[in-house]
């Protein structure tokens, strides 16, 4: 603490930044790393401004030399979408939390959008964005980025909204009693408080995004197919050419990319965000990151962050002020404006419903709707059976790992990595097997749905099992509780709240995955399972918008019903009865 006092005594942080000191070794390493990153960003961004015809001149090739470039383009798309999601979150969630009326619409909308199959929308958005920038790659790029965005934004916004609504009341009172202006309050209280949950959700979103980036790079619009340079297009090409080695390369590249961004981006962010965790006692173990430590040790680097800090400062300087010093009586909104608002909402709802029904009914009839419901039931059976199977396998394994801290420490990151890995990259292997052994696609395509999402069950169960208090385990041991009784009274109740979280995520993900998992191809061989996912996939390829809309609506309905009728009650039960305080 010897060094702190002079800094605290009157020297401001900004002047400290400008104070030139001899760069240290950490500076050098960090500088090279950052310069490299910047180079990569520029290199990757170059391709975006080109005209669309460029894609025909330089089509995606399966040359491993190009793979790093493709991986780069894909990663940049991911981060562009993440940035967009972040901006969306900050604006929309803040609006929802601040304005009661905005909240009335935004909150349920976010809740529903979280569980809607994003892949189904691809057809609509591509057309729109290509129309915005006709003949330019930018349009298609934006469409791809938007597709990823739609898979990332909702849960981030929802978490941010919930954080804003649960700001501790004493901190809220401090801010109000000092008359902090809205901007200052946001930067000082709301944003920091919401950061840890937001970072966690960004990581989840990122994992989910990989799945969609693979599916959204090779886009078919009507009868033209645009393939953006990226891992997804590489994969699509490898599948049509039946190039086994190329798929292996893609898997490797994906693994490398995920590992890199985890180490270079998310670990440092998590380590940094730890200081915003709202607790008054120092936690036993803090998340660590070598990259974060490196950045913190350097001095030159703070210059690089000056723009971000500067932006915050600028906001504060331009801050119009207007923090209300004294509370005003809550003015009940006038009856007339309230009525007008409700009437407006009702009119909008009726109009929207009318449009949708009209659009779908022009080409479809009740028979179609019934058929879709039947298909949805098929997919639902798949999801249920698969979740049950995955639970039977992973719950015992997860508990076993979770109770052994050494193993848990090593395997937890692996499970999280597997959850982040886009399982659709692995689909071709499964297809080859099914074709080879002449298996029934209706049965054997199903496991693909849960290939990527089962890991959520595993790592949540591991977390739950390691959270079972030692005294409970010791008590169970003392009284000789073992076998089925041990599972029934110790392990299962202990992990249940965690298990529900994992199973909920896995089930939602599986519904979504069914769109790519129920209809897969290998070269000219097409495997097809009957189900709602395949229905949507087929309608998308055929450009049959009414069918896509019907399929998406049906799936949304099922997912939401699933959440409301199965997972939420289970979750409430777990919270009430089984949460270990």
């Amino acid at each position: 603490m010897t060094e702190m006092t002079p800094i605290a005594r009157g020297v401001r942080p900004f002047s400290r930044m400008l104070r030139l000191t001899a760069p240290n070794r950490a500076d050098a390493i960090a500088f090279v790393l950052l310069a490299g990153l910047a180079m990569l960003v520029f290199r990757g961004a170059e391709g975006i401004a080109e005209p669309l015809s460029r894609l025909q001149i330089e089509p995606v090739t399966l040359d491993p030399l190009y793979l790093p470039y493709y991986a780069l383009r894909t990663t940049l798309r991911m981060f562009a979408a993440l940035l967009a999601s972040l901006v969306f979150t900050l604006v929309v969630a803040t609006l929802a939390a601040r304005s009661r009326r905005a909240g009335q619409i935004i909150v349920p909308a976010l809740d529903i959008l979280q569980s809607v199959p994003i892949l189904g929308f691809l057809t609509f958005t591509v057309t729109f964005f290509m129309g915005l920038f006709p003949g330019r790659i930018l349009g298609v790029e934006l469409a791809a980025v938007f597709a990823i965005f739609t898979s990332q934004a909702w849960n981030m916004a929802f978490s941010f909204y919930q954080s804003l609504r649960s700001v501790p009341s004493d901190l809220d009172e401090v801010s109000r009693s000092f008359g902090l202006s809205p901007v200052r309050r946001f930067l000082r209280l709301d944003l920091p408080f919401a950061t840890p949950a937001l970072v966690w959700n960004m990581m989840m979103s990122m994992s989910g995004g990989w799945f969609f980036v693979v599916a959204s790079e090779a886009i078919t619009v009507g009868n033209t197919t645009v393939t953006l340079p990226g891992i997804g297009s590489w994969l699509a090409l490898a599948i049509t050419q039946k190039d086994f080695v190329a798929i292996g390369w893609a898997v490797g590249a994906m693994a490398a990319v995920i590992l890199l961004y985890d180490q270079l981006v998310f670990r440092p962010i998590v380590a940094w965000a730890d200081k915003f965790r709202f607790e008054q006692t120092a936690s036993a173990e803090r998340p660590r990151s070598w990259a974060y430590d490196l950045v913190r040790r350097t001095r030159l680097l703070s210059l690089l962050f000056a723009p971000i800090i500067g932006l915050g400062r600028l906001l504060l300087i331009l801050d119009p002020g207007g923090g209300h010093r004294r509370a005003t009586k809550e003015r009940p909104a006038s009856r007339i404006s309230e009525l007008a608002w409700q009437a407006l909402l009702a009119a909008a709802v009726i109009f929207a419903a009318w449009t949708i029904i009209g659009f779908v009914m022009r080409t479809l009839n009740w028979g179609d709707a019934l058929a879709v419901l039947g298909l949805a039931c098929l997919t639902m059976i798949r999801v249920l059976v698969l979740i049950a199977l995955a639970s039977l396998i992973w719950v015992p394994i997860g508990v076993w790992i979770g109770l052994r801290p050494k193993w848990a420490e090593r395997l937890q990151p692996v499970a999280q990595f597997l959850a982040a890995f886009p399982a659709n990259v692995l689909f071709p292997f499964a297809v080859i097997l099914i074709v080879q052994w002449k298996l029934s696609p209706d049965v054997w395509l199903s496991p693909l749905m849960i290939l990527g999402t089962q890991w959520y069950i595993l790592f949540n169960v591991i977390a739950g099992a390691s959270a079972i208090p030692t005294d409970l385990r010791e008590a169970a041991g003392m009284f000789g509780v073992r076998g089925w009784q041990w599972w029934r009274q110790v392990a299962l109740p202990g992990i249940f709240p965690y298990y529900v979280t994992g199973a909920l995520t896995a089930s939602g993900g599986s519904w979504n995955a069914s769109i790519v998992a129920e209809a897969v191809s290998w070269g000219d061989q097409k495997l097809h399972a009957s189900g709602l996912g395949a229905y949507i996939a087929d309608a998308t390829t055929a450009g049959d918008y009414p069918r896509v809309a019907l399929g998406v609506a049906a799936m949304s309905l099922f997912v939401i019903a699933f959440n409301r009728l199965l997972w939420r009650p289970l979750y409430a039960f777990a919270e009430r009865r089984l949460r270990l305080a």
Partner: protein, 434 residues
């Protein structure tokens, strides 16, 4: 303090009333409070939980606006409106800001230039004696240090009036004592910029130790029940007979209110089955009976001694004592707590007899327990959904109070074995799984 300086008013409250909730189940928490805070005095608000002290404090802080009445700040000699700032029970420090940044928060909100901000913050830190910790984060500090930061943060904006919401109740006894003494020293030496302090507390001794004037609040709804001037010179000595006499006197006043009204309905808000029951465990009740039954009390104790002996604050001791009074197991008057004959029998009884005594008291004196038991007796299956009683209670009180009351009566009823409750099915029944 008996000073010759004229007492200028700082804040005047008139006819302040406040309700929580809307429509049915609306609770009146503050009823017709008139209050003037003067310069150069420490005023204590003393009362139990639910007496609206915190609501009153927040009305003055401008954090909420009372449903009716005025909070008026009297312009100072310099023509400025008096300013207030607040110290919180939970410290309310921002965990992501350093100690120094936390202190500077209020200045930052006022757009004080950075250099000046730093100088003033360091002066405040110096005043409360925390030099050297400027760059520490709150989680690195102990509770006492955190509350010092809270105090520095409140003082640095030069408030005329310092509001303190149970500032020492989250600290251990020794730390709390140190902080109280330090604060009093600063006040007596006139080293703080403030003109007056308003402190909310549950602790009668703390109030007598610090305040020049104590306002005793009655609860449900909160009203000023008594105003007590404390003329003892500072520093005060807890063992001084005059000090003890004053503490006893306040206990007497706090127990006096129940006497003129019928004991059964006067204690807790609401009457009949709509009475709000406090969350008091039967173990605590047994413990209190045993304590008073044994030597040195022998069935009769002054509330002040009891609080001292058991290290309980007003908001913990009073609900227990009043519950026993409600059950006619004790009598509470003029600061004395006396066990009734059934309670003396209870103290020496075995488990089964205790259950019987408690059951008898419960069925005789708690209308809600009576009511539930009667319904269960009348129904053919001897079961009744809890929802039904919850709805009934919500006709008379807010959902929170209804839930707490039902929880309490469930707990008491289970202990007395007058009915059983199944949480999963959310229903009451007569059969006891024993």
């Amino acid at each position: 303090m008996a000073t010759i300086a004229e007492t200028r008013p700082l804040v005047e409250l008139s006819n302040v009333r406040h309700f929580y909730g809307k429509g049915h189940g609306q609770m009146l928490v503050l009823d017709d409070v008139d209050l003037t805070l003067n310069e150069n005095e420490i005023v204590g608000l003393l009362g139990r939980s639910g007496s609206g002290k915190s609501t009153l404090l927040r009305s003055i802080a401008g954090l909420l606006r009372p449903s009716e009445g005025d909070v008026r700040f009297v312009l100072g000699e310099d023509g400025n409106t008096p300013s207030v700032s607040m110290v919180f029970q939970t410290f309310a420090l921002f965990p992501w800001l350093t100690f120094l940044q936390n202190v500077e928060l209020g200045l930052e909100a006022q757009r004080v230039p950075a250099e000046q901000r730093r100088t003033r913050a360091l002066a405040a830190i110096d005043l409360i004696g925390l030099d050297g910790f400027e760059n520490a984060y709150p989680k690195e500090l102990s509770g006492g240090m955190r509350q010092r930061v809270g105090l520095a943060r409140a003082l640095v904006v030069d408030p005329s009036l310092l509001l303190m919401d149970e500032p020492f109740s989250a600290l251990d006894v020794l730390t709390a004592e140190t902080l109280r003494t330090d604060l009093l020293d600063l006040w007596c030496e006139g080293r703080m910029p403030i003109k007056s302090i308003l402190i909310v507390t549950h602790n009668i001794e703390e109030a007598v130790l610090m305040c020049d004037r104590i306002l005793v609040f009655s609860s449900n709804p909160g009203r000023v029940a008594a105003e007590i001037k404390v003329d003892l010179p500072q520093p005060r000595d807890r063992l001084d007979p005059a000090f003890r006499a004053l503490v006893d006197d306040i206990y007497a006043r706090m127990t006096a209110r129940a006497a003129p009204e019928p004991a059964r309905d006067g204690l807790f808000p609401g009457t009949g089955i709509a009475m709000v029951l406090p969350d008091v465990s039967t173990d605590a009740l047994s413990g209190l009976i045993e304590e008073v039954d044994a030597a040195p009390f022998d069935g009769r104790a002054s509330m002040a001694d009891l609080a001292d002996e058991l290290q309980l604050e007003v908001d913990e001791l009073f609900p227990m004592a009043e519950t026993l009074q409600l059950l006619r197991l004790a009598d509470l008057s003029s600061g004395d707590f006396t066990l009734t004959p059934p309670a003396r029998r209870y103290a020496i009884a075995d488990v089964d007899q205790r259950t019987a005594i408690f059951a008898q008291a419960l069925l005789a004196h708690v209308p809600l327990a009576q009511h539930i038991r009667r319904i269960l007796d009348e129904r053919p299956g001897h079961t009744a959904p809890a929802r039904r009683f919850r709805d009934e209670l919500e006709d008379h009180m807010s959902p929170d109070y209804a839930a707490e009351t039902l929880r309490t009566v469930t707990h008491w009823g289970r202990y007395a074995e007058i009915f059983a409750y199944d949480e999963g099915a959310d229903q009451f029944s007569l059969d006891d799984p024993s």
